[in-house]
Symmetry: C2
Subunit: 211 residues, 2 copies
DNA sequence: GTCTATACGATGATAGAC
DNA sequence: GTCTATCATCGTATAGAC
């Protein structure tokens, strides 16, 4: 019996398990069991566990970054036509909104969001270099746009603030389920759209803060 | 031959390896080799790999939180005497400065900072519950103080902003060595004291931002 | 080409003899 | 406290069925 979707099934199962338990704590056996395929199928289709992780990342990161870059370029073009400078908030929005929206579109991309959050937390992790490679053009463009929007800010200060903001984002990406130590009278359930605005309030204020 | 410092040597070696490679990617063999003790010594002194991790965390987190809580209480008392409200920036400082300072005091606590950053990145990780248990009183007090400082802010908004700020902090804790995608003309080397101020500029502006 | 069954060497954590 | 044995499980390799 031929099942042409074997690769995709492995990718989805791997995505889910990697996101939930982390790369090292996930065994190939648990993935192949969940995907209902033979253990050796991973090696046949991907070559190794590490290569599987790379494939998991690339499957979703490539289209995501295409969307983010498109939105950013559109914003910059529109601002240029109106001879304005795009706001810091709008620039950040092109980066974070498509990311957080992956959670809600009913697809199985929710796991991916958490997975990226985890990868960003493993400095010397196996996936870091492949991830960075995919992010570089977008990051350069983002930094460039923010520098345009905040011309008075020293570049070193700008760098650190971008670092802080993206660190904050990676934290949210990881923790959309776990909410420890929530005060009793606080309701943490928010719509994705509201979370985006809450975050943009915080991050753009932080970016624009006086020195 | 009896070596009374066996436990401490294991703790330090474990701290170093857990911080560098992560909990799951670290083998007991690599720890005991580095500590120059027998493999089984871990089980004898701590019971299990997981219990060792807990001991590693507790050894430094207990005194750290004592310092943070003391600084916060002192700040609140001083403000009360002057019949003032402590600033958001000063409150945050009591939390983050003692943490980041662990890197520079020449001790071996640098690894611990990175380790905590990593633990915070593993939602369902083995160490999360023990970590949270240690943080709860301090977090409650922190939230309470910030609510005092920003009375006009809805509590839900305050919660999320604290969440964002601490996410940002955990990111810095992890990444003090890796700095990917740094623009060419930016120098990322900063003193700990400068980093604290850079972060407080960002975080307090973000906390105080208008709604 | 796809997929399966099975085996291998390495390493994991732990228990029990000493 | 230490050492050794043990056993489960890991990622990977391979031979062969469809």
């Amino acid at each position: 019996m031929s099942r042409p979707d074997t690769k995709q099934r492995i990718l989805s199962a791997a995505e889910h398990h990697f996101a939930r338990d982390g790369y090292h704590a996930t065994s190939l056996r648990s993935i192949t069991t969940a995907a209902d395929v033979n253990l050796a199928a991973v090696n046949y289709h991907f070559g190794s566990k590490e290569a599987l992780l790379e494939a998991v990342i690339e499957r979703r990161l490539t289209p995501l970054n295409k969307v983010r870059l498109n939105q950013l370029e559109t914003l910059l073009k529109k601002a240029k036509q109106g001879e304005e400078v795009p706001t810091c908030r709008d620039i950040l929005r092109t980066f974070i909104e498509p990311t957080l929206r992956l959670r809600q579109q009913g697809s199985d991309s929710e796991d991916f969001v958490a997975l990226i959050g985890r990868i960003l937390a493993e400095p010397r992790g196996v996936a870091m270099s492949i991830f960075m490679h995919h992010m570089e053009p977008l990051m350069n463009r983002l930094f460039q746009a923010l520098a345009l929007s905040l011309p008075e800010l020293p570049r070193q200060t700008l760098f650190w603030r971008v670092h802080f903001a993206l660190g904050s984002l990676s934290h949210i990406m990881r923790c959309h389920e776990r909410h420890a130590m929530v005060p009793e009278d606080v309701n943490v359930d928010v719509e994705v759209g509201d979370l985006v605005e809450l975050f943009l309030d915080f991050a753009s204020a932080g970016m624009e803060g006086t020195i």
